[in-house]
């Protein structure tokens, strides 16, 4: 409802489907909402030079990330007519096939929810100080690079 208070966005380990279901369920009392848009990032088991990604280990500069996230949140609330917005990003190890990012926007009409969700995802990827370390099945690793 409010973009004013800094909120924690970090979750230790993967984001569970049941957590997403709870978040959706909680909005059933807000009967002014007509549309929800959800983005989920899932860890891919990419094959890189014959090594397969088994998991990604996420680290962050938390104090800075929370300040940046607060700024993104305020900008998105100013730009779009949202009812609410929830953002969660994993820290630590997330295995291939598990969810590491959950962006959830709600509004009266679909346009605002859809556009706000997309813009927030782009800003998170570009602006939040988070680093993924791709852990291969053979125990080697490389630092992830976003496209």
């Amino acid at each position: 409802m409010s973009a004013k208070q800094p909120k924690n966005v970090f979750v230790q380990g993967p984001i569970e489907a049941s957590f997403i279901a709870d978040s959706i369920q909680k909005h059933s009392s807000q009967t002014n909402i007509g549309a929800h848009s959800i983005f989920l990032g899932q860890v891919r088991s990419d094959l890189i030079k014959a090594r397969k990604v088994a998991a990604i280990d996420y680290t962050t500069y938390e104090e800075m990330a929370l300040e940046e996230m607060h700024e993104i949140r305020e900008a998105i609330f100013l730009k779009y007519q949202l009812t609410c917005m929830h953002i969660y990003h994993s820290l630590g190890k997330v295995a291939a096939g598990e969810i590491c990012l959950f962006v959830f926007t709600s509004s009266k009409h679909r346009k605002a929810a859809i556009e706000a969700c997309e813009e927030t995802v782009e800003r998170i990827k570009a602006e939040l100080p988070i680093w993924g370390k791709e852990l291969f099945e053979d125990d080697s690793y490389q630092w992830k690079e976003n496209k």
């Binding site: 995802v121 990827k125 602006e127 100080p129 680093w131 993924g132």
Partner: protein, 81 residues
């Protein structure tokens, strides 16, 4: 004022950790970010590494004066999500 040496705390992230091996580095006698980078390059093989510098949680794009309490972060390209 001779004994007033600047000592800044540098936090290191991502692939730069592979080089520094330590997430926290104390650097003395630097008055701005250019001097800091010069010092770091003497200590670590940072050549060709891409990273941004944040001073007190804000990314700086120009040479920025530092003081005794500055917290500097070395930020490789982000790869969240």
């Amino acid at each position: 004022m001779l004994n007033n040496t600047t000592r800044v705390n540098v936090i290191v992230f991502g692939h730069l950790l592979d080089i520094t091996k330590s997430a926290n580095i104390a650097i003395e006698n630097v008055s701005d970010t250019n001097e800091l980078v010069q010092q770091l390059e003497l200590l670590y093989p940072f050549t060709n590494m891409r990273f941004a510098i944040a001073v007190d949680k804000k990314i700086v794009n120009e040479n920025t004066p530092l003081n005794d309490n500055s917290v500097i972060a070395l930020l490789p390209p982000f790869s969240g999500g």
